[in-house]
Symmetry: C2
Subunit: 344 residues, 2 copies
């Protein structure tokens, strides 16, 4: 597998120029808070003072998970393909929010347990009808995991825009994400698991025990790649590949909730510089997401108690990216507007 | 003065219908978090299941403050009129964010210490060239305060849209807002004052002492109206009037930061039911705003460390109001999309 070469965005000259441009705008110093941080980050990613948001797109990766056989989800597995159908019919939350914010939406079948046949609007990258049950064996073979990463890279390489959001659909994938989180951060499993789509407290405890037993069984998985292959999902691996490639291409990566962040965690353990390219759209209500964000030293833009996935947080945060670019590009400066500056 | 009659939005039948509509959408129960709460609130305000966001507008009220003579601002008073010019030239942050989000913007001269003459785009409701210095005398006479409230009511009555955001510009107005906050909530002045546009710690302490001395001097101001007249601003009083009328007309009130919330605090002490109509766009970085929101039991949508005013938080939060309406109006239901529901 060819690993993308991701460069840190650090550039002190440009950073100083961006600071100057931001501070000269007609507003008290620092008064646009997180939008100022965001504008500077986008400038560094794009390596220019002329920051822009062009042709943003959200990729939604869908796949099934063998571990559902352990009874770890509140919804039946069929919901994965039914929701893919819902995406194609434009009836899901992500369709609504992407359309509202003029964001392209691409739905990728990374490994759903269903025959869709050729369908308009569905990008077929199915590698298997779901993963194996990681309670019993590795979720993916090394070859399948590599193929998923590479398929993701190829998809990211085809995007024309400079902002890519990531979303997912896959019944059972909070269980995979919690296992990845535990293995990659060392945070106890009990603090990684949550209710997902709506488990009872007993259900959450059962999910915890399933993961703990699997972690004990697969104690040999240590590298980020092995951990991904052992506990991940086809959608998670494909996302991680797309993230790596998108960062290499110096796109802004818009990160959604718990599962998307788990894919990033894998990618960041492979290539730490990827974090320079990430904008964290929101903090999910899924227990564990805040701690995962903390482990990445990430500060999310929104905190709306969302726990829907699909990339909905990305679509909802997109207007803030536009706002960051727009204030830098469109606001007057103290000089141009002839506004007096702060008294000394 | 004719006080608007604001009715509580409580309606159990409609609330149950809205819950049903929201819960039938193809998503896990409650998974859209704050957007679900917001959708329900808008439905109750509009008294319908067919919620809509039409012709949103932001009113920016500008005025000057006599208390600047006490040296309580980091910027000179001229910045008030200079920023009004900047609004008219479309160079300020609020121009950029309102335009981005297709929101009408109206700039109101409530009492700026400057002769603008007749100007396109400026709504002239000037009642005086700023308030008196409340360190020495009441900021406004009762007659002026009443006139400001009534002018605000008349402005709100002219708006055609169903969402009104509120913004302000006025050098010195965080001092007025902090005094109002203290008088109306009982929170100690030291916890109400903040850096405003960028005071030093010494400057903040001086501001605190100015307010404490004024509060001692005007101990007779007890009713919300008297407190407003004594410590408020022309823009604050006019905003409070516009808020009261907009709520009577069952519009959604979009509340910005520290100063706008202080105007709402006055209005809410006059008519508590107004709070049913308020959407709190963000929590400002101005120290005191979080406590003011707590006093109103308000949960803001955004927390971006903004402290710019002008209604910028309202403009930035507007896409979330659209999202709330859109998911209710456009998402498929489990039935329509034939998606399986949660297992029992």
């Amino acid at each position: 597998m060819l690993t993308p070469a991701i460069h840190a965005t650090r550039n002190e000259t440009l950073a100083a120029e961006l600071d100057r441009a931001i501070n000269n705008k007609t507003k008290p110093l620092g008064s646009l808070g997180a939008l100022e941080t965001l504008a500077k980050q986008i400038g560094l990613i794009q390596n220019t003072r002329q920051i822009s948001i062009s042709d943003p797109a959200i990729l939604v990766f869908a796949a099934d998970h063998g571990v559902v056989a352990e009874g770890i989800s509140a919804y039946p597995q069929d919901v994965t393909w039914q929701m893919v159908e819902n995406f194609l019919a434009k009836g899901a939350a992500i369709n609504v929010f992407a359309a509202q914010n003029n964001c392209a939406l691409y739905v990728v079948d990374a490994g759903v347990n269903h025959d869709f046949g050729p369908r308009d609007g569905l990008i077929d990258r199915k590698l298997a009808k779901g993963t194996h049950n990681f309670a019993q064996q590795a979720a993916m073979s090394n070859a399948t995991c590599t193929a998923a990463l590479e398929a993701g890279m190829a998809l990211a390489a085809e995007l024309k825009g400079n902002v890519v959001g990531f979303g997912e659909m896959g019944i059972g994938n909070t269980t995979a994400a919690a296992a990845l989180m535990h293995k990659l951060t060392g945070i106890p499993v009990a603090e990684c698991v949550g209710a997902g789509t709506g488990l009872s407290p007993d259900g959450v405890l059962h999910k915890q025990h399933v993961i703990e037993a699997a972690v004990a069984r697969h104690s040999g998985a240590v590298t980020p790649f092995d951990i991904l292959a052992t506990f991940g999902g086809l959608e998670i691996a494909m996302m991680a590949g797309a993230m790596l490639k998108a960062a290499e291409l110096r796109k802004v990566l818009l990160i959604d909730g718990f599962i998307v962040t788990s894919a990033l965690l894998v990618a960041a353990r492979m290539q730490p510089a990827i974090l320079d390219y990430c904008v964290f759209s929101h903090c999910s209500n899924e227990q564990g997401h805040q701690k995962m964000l903390n482990a990445l030293q990430a500060r999310p833009l929104l905190n709306l108690g969302l726990r829907l996935g699909e990339g909905t947080g990305c679509a909802l945060a997109l207007p803030l990216l536009h706002a960051a670019a727009n204030f830098v590009n469109q606001m007057a400066t103290f000089e141009s507007a002839q506004v007096s500056e702060k008294s000394e």
